[in-house]
Symmetry: C2
Subunit: 209 residues, 2 copies
Amino acid sequence: MEEKDISQAVVSRLPRYLRYLADLKDEGIERISSQELSKRMHVTASQIRQDLNHFGGFGQQGYGYNVESLYLEIAKILGLDHQHYLVIIGAGNLGQALLNYMNFARRGFIFKGIFDSNPQLHGMKIRDMEVKPMEELKDFICENNIDIAVLTIPKASAVAVTEQLIECKIKAIWNFAHVDLAVPEDVQVENVHLSDSLMKLSYNIRRNR
Amino acid sequence: MEEKDISQAVVSRLPRYLRYLADLKDEGIERISSQELSKRMHVTASQIRQDLNHFGGFGQQGYGYNVESLYLEIAKILGLDHQHYLVIIGAGNLGQALLNYMNFARRGFIFKGIFDSNPQLHGMKIRDMEVKPMEELKDFICENNIDIAVLTIPKASAVAVTEQLIECKIKAIWNFAHVDLAVPEDVQVENVHLSDSLMKLSYNIRRNR
């Protein structure tokens, strides 16, 4: 199935489709019309049809979507039919929380190592994984086919670490540091700026007052 | 300064402006043109002017923006001139990580309590704050003027807890649970779906292959 060029806005919506389809599967529902899906997801049926049309369209007139095959197809589009290997850089609370979160592994995101510059943390075990010194990061990434580096370190160190990661030809950075990273075009970055999200909430509270 | 109706897309960009302006302040820069800001932020100068025009526009032809006053104005628009009181529901790794993250307090987001349904966690101290049982949640929210509830609990319990929060007239929910919450119009919800963000990264890795 040939994909057209898909906007990041559409890509952003795919995980949500996947989540609803997983729920439908759990409920034993085998097929669903765009109208029914629209009611559940609170988006228009026309948006659903448009979004899914990007991938050639899976629906059949009068039949609707086959839940299982639509689920599998979206999972494949999202690259979830491959495993991804990750390292976490920064063994603080957030790094530990991510390492302990089991649901990522179910989706094929496998944590292979956790690193920190603080010598006091080296050797500490989190989920049977020892915190390693930053000096070992580069070799580890090459030797373990790491795709994704997760940055849970402060802003100041994130920039320097990113340079190392680029030298290691990392494919992607999942960035929790509160800074925009400068990377070459072939390195993917996805930012989770928690403060930004909280400020948006604050804005909406204020508007609603 | 009168605000027009602002799209959520623009609102989403405001925290990033604020971040760059804070950096400029730290560097001792007092004014900046939209062109210079555009170079730093990697967005067009025209987008910057458009975005900031929503708030009546602060720039002066040939002078540029006054960094300090633009910073203060955006902070005010984002509601950061008020303090917000938060509770965390779910004292697992993620809840603890958020509670331990000091930068939120600097922005006026003050954590007042942390709750969990697991009796084994009750009384445990995190940053001098005792984990409280869920039974005390409702009274606590009323008595402490809590604006924002942070949900760091699994999907299944998030829906039931949200119903309680609505009864307490909570103003906003910062939702880390992997589910869409049904709330009345006057309750603001901001979702942080970590898996979704990781899947987007996976999509972009695959596209780049």
